[in-house]
């Protein structure tokens, strides 16, 4: 279970998260919805340990362990995976090399045996077929020259290969057409399991038609201001965030 309590995060001197509390039990998918500037992406970065996103107050535990005390790579080895809204281009490093290096680094950190090159290739072939990805693309430098949709698929492919236990999806639907969205959502749904927790960060309800959440949280100005069942996503889509904004309160 992921447990966030009274989390305050500043970027530079600017407070962005202002007392956010949220629990995601194992096996559940929770959506965090909110207007632009609510701090949704900051939440993803804070959970994954991006430098410059400083927790000034509060606590985050993942499976009972203090997440905030760990380096980003240590968090990854414990199963934390952030699917980036804008995946980064890594020039000169072929996608295949990158994912295998990452997987084996995680395995080393957990004291597990590393994956051999042939075994890894087999895994990748299966995973890339499921995502309808061209295998040759994976020989190219990671994300360099990839379209927006290809980059998102690449994120899901990495997710499938790294098998994380805490998945944070940051605006995974942005830049995807309907067909690509369905493929990506299928990829995510295939990873749903009783051991995994997922946090789906999104501005629109559209993605949640494909990845059905167990709970929906509304985030405004760095806090969760309301929580409810899956129906809440449709309500938000119909009514907007207005009634949750500070002026309306």
């Amino acid at each position: 279970m992921l447990s966030i309590s009274n989390l305050h995060v500043s970027v530079g001197d600017k407070p962005i998260l202002k007392g956010l509390s949220l629990d995601v039990p194992a096996g559940e998918v929770h959506a965090v919805m909110g207007p632009n500037g609510a701090g949704k992406s900051t939440l993803g970065y804070a959970l994954s340990g991006r430098p410059g996103y400083e927790a000034t107050e509060g606590a985050v535990t993942w499976r009972g362990e203090d997440l905030l005390a760990l380096e980003p790579a240590e968090r990854a080895a414990r199963g934390v995976f952030l699917s980036f809204q804008y995946p980064i281009e890594i020039p000169g490093v072929p996608a295949l090399t990158f994912v295998r290096t990452a997987l084996n680094a995680q395995k080393r950190a957990r004291g597990e045996e590393e994956v051999s090159a042939p075994a890894f290739l087999k895994l990748v072939r299966a995973a890339s077929q499921a995502l309808k990805m061209d295998f040759d693309m994976l020989k190219r430098p990671l994300n360099v020259g990839f379209s927006g949709g290809e980059k998102k698929r690449m994120e899901i492919l990495q997710m499938a290969l790294l098998e994380p236990s805490l998945l944070i999806l940051d605006e995974t639907d942005s830049g995807l057409d309907i067909d690509a969205l369905r493929i990506v959502a299928d990829g995510v749904n295939a990873l749903r399991s009783p051991e995994r927790s997922m946090l789906v960060i999104t501005h629109y309800q559209r993605l949640l038609d494909y990845i059905k959440p167990d709970r929906v949280h509304v985030m405004v100005a760095g806090r969760i201001v309301a929580s409810g069942g899956p129906e809440m996503a449709h309500q938000l889509e119909a009514e907007g965030y207005d009634k949750y904004l500070p002026e309306a309160a």
Partner: protein, 342 residues
């Protein structure tokens, strides 16, 4: 006529200081005020075959400046020469003068290694390379010298028409390490590629300086140098391409790109294009920066520890230079050699 002054280790007045324009960033006199004691002749035979041993070829070995066999070679056909400059001296100086001539149509691979086994030595290497018409020479240089050594290598390369010269220097620095290449380019279909890479840590210093003089029309020069400095290391790149009057149709490109990975690392770059002809295509690019922080975080998020992420990114940055090396055999030796030093 040489554009770069030639050193004479026996004569301290020939040691340039930063007041000499071409030595502005590598102040030899600061480290070397007096002529060093001559290095003793070292015992031969030499153990091992050097970093390129597995590729075979004829060895051409100098130990403390003295040739084990010949100091000059005239070669034809397809051949590989392993030019090994070994310094075993401690606190003394020595000079090498080597000559390699490639006959018309020859195809040579010169695998040059600077192997520093001593300490605090001063090495001066002069290399003269002559390429006859249509000859093809590839020179690859790996340097592995102690942090307290001073070493200056001055290569003069003369091409005849239609010759092709390709060079890649991979430098790991020393107290002061300078590798000069001076190319006399006749144009008329002759091609030159001058590449370099440097990886420097601690307080090491490496200087890659080159002058290419385009004397005739329709010659090409392509230059790519990439470097990485850490700690308080200092990298110097000086590249000068001269296109003489009448050398129309010259195509010359120069790029130098460096990463500084520490607060106190330094890179000095001086790219120069001096053009007296009218119809030419010349371009140069120069960048100095740091690793992309967003990329570093992304890689860590996927599980790579910071050091590993850095090494992967810097390796990828430098390998662009290695990827240009032909043929594959030596390319992979250089790749491994460089990877081990990231």
């Amino acid at each position: 006529m040489s554009a770069l002054p030639i050193l004479d280790l026996k004569d301290a007045s020939s040691f340039p200081s930063r007041r000499t324009e071409a030595w502005k960033y590598s102040d030899l006199r600061k480290f070397l005020r007096e002529a060093p004691q001559p290095s003793p002749s070292a015992a031969v035979p030499v153990a091992g075959g050097g970093p390129f041993e597995a590729l075979g070829g004829e060895p051409m070995v100098f130990v403390n400046g003295r040739p084990v066999d010949a100091s000059a070679r005239v070669l034809c056909g397809e051949q590989t020469v392993r030019l090994r400059l070994i310094s075993k001296a401690e606190g003394a100086g020595h000079a090498v003068h080597a000559r390699i001539s490639a006959r018309a149509g020859a195809k040579l691979l010169v695998l040059e290694t600077h192997e520093g086994e001593g300490a605090g030595y001063v090495a001066h290497n002069r290399l003269e390379l002559d390429l006859a018409e249509g000859a093809e020479v590839t020179r690859l240089v790996l340097t592995d010298e102690p942090a307290d050594a001073i070493s200056v290598t001055q290569a003069a390369v003369r091409l005849a028409r239609g010759a092709r010269y390709r060079q890649t220097i991979v430098a790991s620095g020393a107290k002061l390490q300078r590798l000069e290449t001076e190319v006399s380019h006749p144009g008329h279909g002759a091609e030159v590629r001058l590449d370099g890479a440097y990886v420097l840590g601690d307080s090491r210093h490496a200087d890659l300086t080159s002058v290419v003089d385009h004397l005739g029309r329709d010659g090409t020069t392509s230059q790519l140098t990439k470097g990485v400095v850490k700690d308080t290391a200092r990298g110097v790149f000086q590249g000068k391409i001269i296109v003489e009057r009448g050398a129309d149709g010259t195509d010359a490109r120069m790029g130098h790109h460096a990463l500084i990975l520490s607060e106190r690392g330094e890179v000095d770059a001086k790219p120069e294009l001096i053009i007296y002809a009218d119809e030419v295509q010349c371009a140069h690019g120069n960048t100095v920066g740091n690793l992309d922080q967003a990329a570093l975080f992304y890689m860590q998020q996927r599980g790579l520890p910071l050091d590993e992420a850095r090494a992967l990114l810097t390796g990828a940055f430098l390998m662009e230079v290695v990827d240009r090396i032909e043929p594959e055999g030596p390319r992979e030796v250089v790749r491994e050699w460089l990877t081990a030093r990231l």
